[in-house]
């Protein structure tokens, strides 16, 4: 009988070891440190933004917030590899990509602060943060089909978590992407945890990448903490999509160094040792070591950059905190393109309620 094929472990794309020393020749483009410096800067900004957001939540100034600490290389690679006209279909742990695509930090804070106006405002065609797990995968293939139908040359990039791979919406979308040969790239942020559920309790297969096989989709694994590997595979996959060579599934192996969200306490369900060990593999440290070894980065530069980030973040926080609330009746705005007269009673009821409360 046929055996389950084994995903070749050597097939995981990785260039940088945890110590920042290349484990094999880096690709040609990475001989130029410029793109890596940009990547490092975004990764640092993302990390500091995440830290600040968590702090805001802790002091009651923000709602539940999902930090991306430890997974910055994934988000930054997606952001840098995407072109402005591509379509980005995020989940909820994608601040890095959203920032690179032009979202204002104060808007991201507004969103997590419970205000619709903060809905991601990157390029007009991008989708907003998606909370219901894996539902964004359907949108991604729909957007990709739209591009295909209109013979437009862009690609769609869709992110999801390791937990999301268990939900039917992901399989259904993957299957359509393969069947219709759609210009879409799925990037799994495999941070090893879906809240408290470890990767092994999520799926019996040794890799998540092999979920693409059943859909006839080109599938790869990459070290999600290695920005060079991530840039390489995401760029290659987007290139395939843009050249109508078919969809790609990327499993990016990383680790969720923080709690699931600020509402979570990960110490309930995982060992501190494991987290400690994972800090050794985290993406910023690794890239900093590499860049330093290349003479392209220094502690002084790092301090300066952090200072710069701090300033940007402070300003955004200020703007966020100074944002006046929406008008009370804003909940009815944009519910329909044109307000249906049949719903006027709702406005009357609302006005009456507000009148009572003002008394």
């Amino acid at each position: 009988m046929a055996q389950i094929p084994v995903f070749d472990p050597g097939a995981m794309t990785q260039y940088l070891g945890c110590d920042g020393v290349p484990v094999r020749d880096v690709p040609l483009w990475a001989h130029d440190v410029e793109p890596l410096l940009r990547a490092y800067e975004w990764m640092m900004l993302t990390r500091m933004f995440d830290q600040k957001a968590v702090a805001l939540q802790r002091t009651g100034q923000l709602g539940t917030f999902p930090s991306s600490v430890g997974q910055e290389a994934i988000g930054v690679a997606c952001g840098l590899a995407l072109e402005a006209q591509d379509v980005f279909v995020p989940y909820y742990r994608d601040h890095a990509t959203q920032l690179i695509r032009g979202a204002a930090m104060q808007d991201l804070l507004l969103y997590w602060g419970g205000d619709e106006r903060g809905s991601y405002a990157g390029p007009a065609q991008d989708l907003p943060v998606c909370v219901p797990i894996a539902t964004q995968c359907g949108h991604a293939v729909g957007a990709a089909a739209a591009l295909k139908i209109r013979h437009q040359p862009q690609a769609v990039l869709c992110t999801l978590g390791d937990g999301a791979t268990s939900k039917g919406d992901f399989s259904e979308a993957l299957n359509l992407a393969g069947t219709w040969h759609l210009p879409v790239v799925f990037v799994i942020n495999n941070n090893q945890w879906a809240i408290s559920v470890p990767r092994a309790a999520q799926c019996g297969a040794p890799t998540l990448a092999q979920k693409g096989w059943g859909a006839g989709i080109h599938s790869v694994q990459a070290d999600g903490n290695d920005i060079i590997a991530m840039l390489e595979v995401v760029n290659e996959a987007l290139d395939r999509a843009r050249h109508r060579k078919g969809p790609t599934l990327i499993e990016a192996i990383s680790y969720r160094l923080g709690d699931h969200t600020t509402a979570d306490d990960a110490s309930r369900y995982r060992a501190a040792d494991d987290v400690q060990a994972a800090w050794e593999r985290e993406p910023l440290l690794r890239l900093r070591r590499f860049l330093t070894s290349q003479g392209a980065w220094s502690e002084a530069m790092d301090a300066r950059w952090q200072e710069h980030c701090q300033a940007l973040i402070s300003k955004a926080v200020e703007q966020y905190l100074a944002t006046p609330p929406q008008a009370a009746e804003a909940m009815f705005d944009h519910l329909y393109a044109e307000w249906p007269a049949a719903l006027d009673e709702q406005l009357d009821l609302f006005a009456a309620r507000m009148a009572v409360r003002e008394v």
């Binding site: 279909v89 106006r117 007009a124 219901p132 539902t135 729909g142």
Partner: protein
């Protein structure tokens, strides 16, 4: 605002007699001709033309890129349609039977209904989900449900139900034009039950408004979907007994054009609501509640509802026991008229 329609008026020039399903087909063809952004997707809608033939010939006419057979997955159909809509297409998705719409529920509730609201108007979701619904064709289990109330409870969705070939044509064109998501439910019992003269003039009928199919002054009969047939027949029977019944086809069951329904009931003082969905949680409860809450003094009799029962639709040998019949409506009307 309500619209008055005469169900039985004569011939429109250049028109031919069409069934409801043919009217749907004609509206789809017209919308696709008028607007290259209109695309169709669903199960078996291509070469097969849909299991009820609503999309017959459209793939041949508009090509496989605009009339897409999807894999068998309703959540995917809805999700894909939403993704297409965000990029400016106007997808019209078919769910083969309303009984199979539930996998799509998450997409419809958490995304289609909210995308515009969530993004403060940046993204739109001009999407139509078509689904045949209702009983009466001796179909297998799950092929005869009427669960329109589930969608009517979801703010941001429109739920539109035509009950004649002309309204199918005009309302479907409006639903496709509409920049927001519309659940368009086609009463499959009427697909081939009646023909109407219909010319392909592209004339739209308004959403969000009821249609007064028949004027009357003694009582108001409110219904939608296939039950409109029994309701009209009951009105005719009542007329022979000297009772003049106004017949309202709600058509857009969400949002509800209560102003028109209320105006009619305030005129007649009496109201019977007819629908084939289960009674509890049905849209009839909404209409009844709002009438009683807002026009208590003008009601000369309690509102009566003639509905399906709080059971699953029985298998087809007994479906007629479940579905409101003319006699049931007449009996309710009599009861309503004889109150006090």
């Amino acid at each position: 605002m309500s619209l008055q329609t005469t169900e039985t008026v004569g011939h429109v020039p250049e028109s031919c007699d069409l069934t409801l399903v043919e009217a749907v087909n004609l509206a789809l063809a017209r919308a696709m001709t008028e607007d290259p952004d209109v695309v169709l997707l669903g199960e078996d809608i291509g070469l097969n033309g849909g299991v009820f033939r609503a999309t017959q010939g459209l793939q041949q006419q508009f090509g496989r890129e605009r009339v897409m057979d999807t894999p068998l997955a309703e959540a995917l159909i809805a999700g894909t349609a939403i993704g297409m809509a965000t990029q400016g297409l106007k997808p019209v998705a078919e769910i083969q039977f309303m009984g199979f719409i539930f996998p799509a529920m998450e997409q419809l509730v958490t995304h289609a209904a909210r995308l515009r609201n969530r993004t403060r108007g940046r993204l739109h979701c001009p999407l139509v989900i078509r689904a045949p619904f209702g009983g009466g064709i001796h179909a297998p289990e799950h092929h005869s449900e009427s669960t329109e109330a589930l969608f009517a409870h979801i703010p941001g969705l429109r739920v539109v139900i035509p009950s004649s070939p002309r309204r199918a044509y005009g309302l479907l064109l409006s639903a496709i034009d509409n920049p927001d998501p519309v659940i368009f439910l086609e009463p499959k019992r009427l697909y081939r039950a009646l023909k109407q003269p219909l010319s392909d003039d592209g004339a739209r009928l308004p959403l969000d408004t009821v249609f007064i199919l028949r004027e009357g002054h003694d009582m108001t009969l409110v219904s939608w979907g296939a039950c409109i047939q029994e309701t009209l027949a009951a009105a005719q029977e009542l007329e022979q007994r000297g009772i003049s019944a106004e017949v309202i086809d709600v058509a857009t069951v969400s949002p509800l054009d209560m102003d028109s329904i209320r105006a009619s009931v305030e005129k007649t003082g009496r109201c019977v609501i007819i629908h084939e969905a289960a009674r509890s949680g049905g849209i009839g409860a909404d209409i009844s509640a709002r009438l009683s809450e807002q026009s208590l003094d003008l009601l000369q009799a309690p509102v009566i509802r003639v509905t399906g029962f709080d059971t699953p639709m029985p298998y087809f040998r007994q479906e007629l026991l479940y579905l409101p019949q003319v006699a049931d409506i007449v009996a309710a009307a009599d009861q309503c008229m004889s109150y006090r």
